[in-house]
Amino acid sequence: MSLLKMEGIKKSFNRIEVLHGIDLEVKSGEIVALLGENGAGKSTLMKILAGVHLPSEGKIFMEAKEVTIDSPRASQQLRISIIHQEFNLLKDLSVAENIFLGKHITTKLGVINWKEMNEETTKLLKRVGIGHISPSRLVSECSIAERQLIEIAKALSFESKVLIMDEPTATLNNEDTQKLLSLMEELREEGLGIIFITHRMDEVMSVADRAVVMRDGAYIGQEEVENLTKDQIVRMLVGRDLTNMYPDRVAPQDEVVMEVNQLHISKRLHDISFTVKKGEVLGIGGLLGSGKTDLSKALFGLLKHSSGEVKMLGQKVSTPRGAIDAGIALVTDDRKDEGLVLDLSVAENILIPSYRKISNFGVLKKNTMSKIVDRWVSGLQIKTPSAESEVRKLSGGNQQKVVLGKWLQMDPKILILNEPTRGIDIGAKFEIYKIIHELAAKGIAIILISSEMPELLGMSHRIIVMNEGRLSGEMDITEATQEKIFEYATGGE
């Protein structure tokens, strides 16, 4: 039975049309994968269902009745529940409050019932696999992946009929993704209709019933998943075949670029030592909360070193500025809070770290600036009305490309990439892998932190694994397997 139906949906921002008349239908007990390149319009379409945007044209039917969704509340009342692509959490509030935001459990007298709220929270957290997190923990103390799972728990806290998941797995590792996928199957059994956005084809193949493809704001087509192969979907998406996602590796050089000696960060990281060579891609894996992000920040001088040291070509590094001067670049996994200045333009975000380099006594050189910007906007195929547009208005994946561009053009000696392809479509991923490959071939050292196992195995020369803030294993790519990484990650042996 048709649960939700969108017909001829159009949407314009500032008189620019970004959705050109989209149809979409979800049935009860069905998982629909909504696919498309970065900037295709997937999130915008979903935000219309969530009551964030009003469509410029088109109709929406809920259980065959036409409805207007003019506010988030209206959407909730129609029993539509959404996990947005960007987090919407209050960092200074507890996990429990975030989950029950706008619908606190109260007693008959209107007084908040903290006890019941915390109990319900624990149940929900268990359901998404993070039962160990206390309901009273502040969100600011949770890692990105943990936050993603909290968002999912939040969506589950509604008794909904339609569940929209906008790239819920982008920040999750293999294990958590698997858990989430089986949870989705459970929900399907319960009769929910699910719209699932992802850039990972394996996930589509494993849970989705039907795939709907968009491109440039237009509807391209749809197909039952059982009639499709992975390659066919990719072709529908990109319009061509993508063979050999991961380029062949070039052997690293002998010279050590970065050396980490018994690095210790109070309460977070313990006894970390490793080296990275010129032209080497060092992969770092680990479960969620294992300290990968903390490590990346420590290397960049963002966390105070309690003891031990980080050396770049023999020189000690302990502040972000020192790190940048020594040739370290860090692509963070938190693009909204750490990676971008959302109100500034694409151009400026790309240029921020290099202003010092491209100025003459503090005066900026206009030509150099526009050259750099042009190069990366086209090189990374950033989809934006113009380089002057605010980054805020870009699609999630395109924002991620801006973060990448800003560091790539710095010509670093070592590039730390923390989840660099988070939310990036398969075509662009292909391009980014090519760039990483070229950089490494040019002798640039790369630290690749990723929760995507194929990426880690496909790109790295060597992989180290973290567990509870320590290095728990190291292996050459020739001996690395998914199972082995998992074993180290869980602190096995």
Binding site: A50, V52, S71, P72, R73, Q76, H84, N88, L89, L90, K91, D92, L93, E97, L101, G102, K103, H104, T106, G110, V111, I112, S266, K267, K304
Partner: protein
């Protein structure tokens, strides 16, 4: 994994310290004050300080919740003046003073709601909206009073500002009651929690289905209401409404809120800190007078102490993080 509990305990101590950092600074100030003057640590003088503080402190409660939503209300001082004039005018017109009180409070609520409407529905930045209302309310006060104070002669009215219950000055009771109620509201009601949500991340709050406009109107309305309560104390203490009453009071109230640890960008803080912030400033005024510091130097001393307090606070915060 074994020492998770230990860590939790440490965490708790740290959080507690974090919450009561201002309190420690306040205690140190009290200690110093009692060294400086014998007259300081007497029941009489302490009640004196509390009573003096009450007018600003009650306004600062409102300011706290407004700031928690990432707003600000510059109109409080003028609203105090205008609602005070309304109360005095009503009494002078012969209305029984309980009715005058109700009119005054309703006026405060109304002006506050107007602030809230302009900010929420009008989408005007709070700073400029309430600045405009501040100027307008001051003008209305001048027009209404024709620049003259309005004298209140009904002696029953004097109780509000100068009366005592069980030896405790009535304004002090009022102040403590308001703080207690708002403390509870912020912790245990949906309205209270929504205030934090709106201030922490308005977009997220909206997406969660919270009626953001309603929350905003609510906090400004309450702040206007509290300003009119302060107006009652003020007019009762002076038994007259002053056309220039409460000027610059917004700065004192905001200072109390920030010294008390509430973040100006919203979403973090609470009324306990504000009470202590207001007390710090009250004690400072009191002790400078008791010690007969020359008025020219009082400003300097006051500024330096506030600066020291916030600097120490920020150092303490840093220490705790490590």
């Amino acid at each position: 994994m074994t020492n998770t509990n230990d860590n939790n305990n440490w965490l708790r101590v740290a959080l507690l310290l974090n919450k009561y950092r201002v309190f420690i600074i306040f205690l140190v100030l009290l200690l110093i004050a009692s060294f400086i003057s014998d007259a300081f640590f007497t029941v009489n003088n302490l009640f004196n300080v509390l009573r003096q503080v009450s007018i600003v402190a009650i306004i600062a409660v409102g300011m706290t919740i407004v700031i928690l939503t990432a707003g600000i209300d510059l109109s409080v001082g003028s609203v105090l003046a205008l609602t005070g004039a309304i109360a005095a005018g009503a009494i002078t017109a012969g209305l029984p003073f309980p009715i005058a009180i109700i009119i005054c409070l309703l006026a405060g609520l109304l002006i506050g709601s107007i602030n809230g409407l302009i900010v929420s529905k009008g989408k005007v930045p709070a700073f400029i909206a309430t600045l405009a209302v501040m100027v307008i309310a001051r003008g209305l006060t001048l027009v209404y009073t024709q620049g003259n104070p309005i004298v209140i002669s009904d002696m029953g009215y004097r109780f509000l500002g100068s009366g005592r219950i069980l030896g405790i000055p009535f304004p002090v009771i009022l102040m403590l009651a308001i703080f207690a109620i708002m403390f509870w509201v912020l912790k245990h009601t949906t309205f209270g929690r929504n205030i934090y949500a709106v201030g922490g991340n308005e977009e997220a709050a909206r997406l969660a289905g919270i009626n953001v406009d309603r929350v905003k109107i609510g906090v400004y309305a309450l702040t206007g209401f509290f300003a009119s309560i302060s107006a009652l104390i003020y007019t009762s203490r002076l038994m007259s409404a002053q056309p220039n009453a409460g000027s610059m009071m917004e700065l004192d109230a905001i200072a109390a809120v920030i010294i008390g640890g509430t973040r100006l960008t919203g979403g973090k803080g609470g009324v306990t800190g504000t009470l202590i912030g207001a007390l710090i400033m009250g004690v400072l005024d009191n002790i400078l007078n008791l010690a007969n510091v020359s008025p020219f130097y009082q400003d300097i001393a006051k500024g330096l102490v506030i600066l020291a307090a916030v600097l120490i606070d920020s150092k303490l915060a840093k220490l705790q993080k490590q």
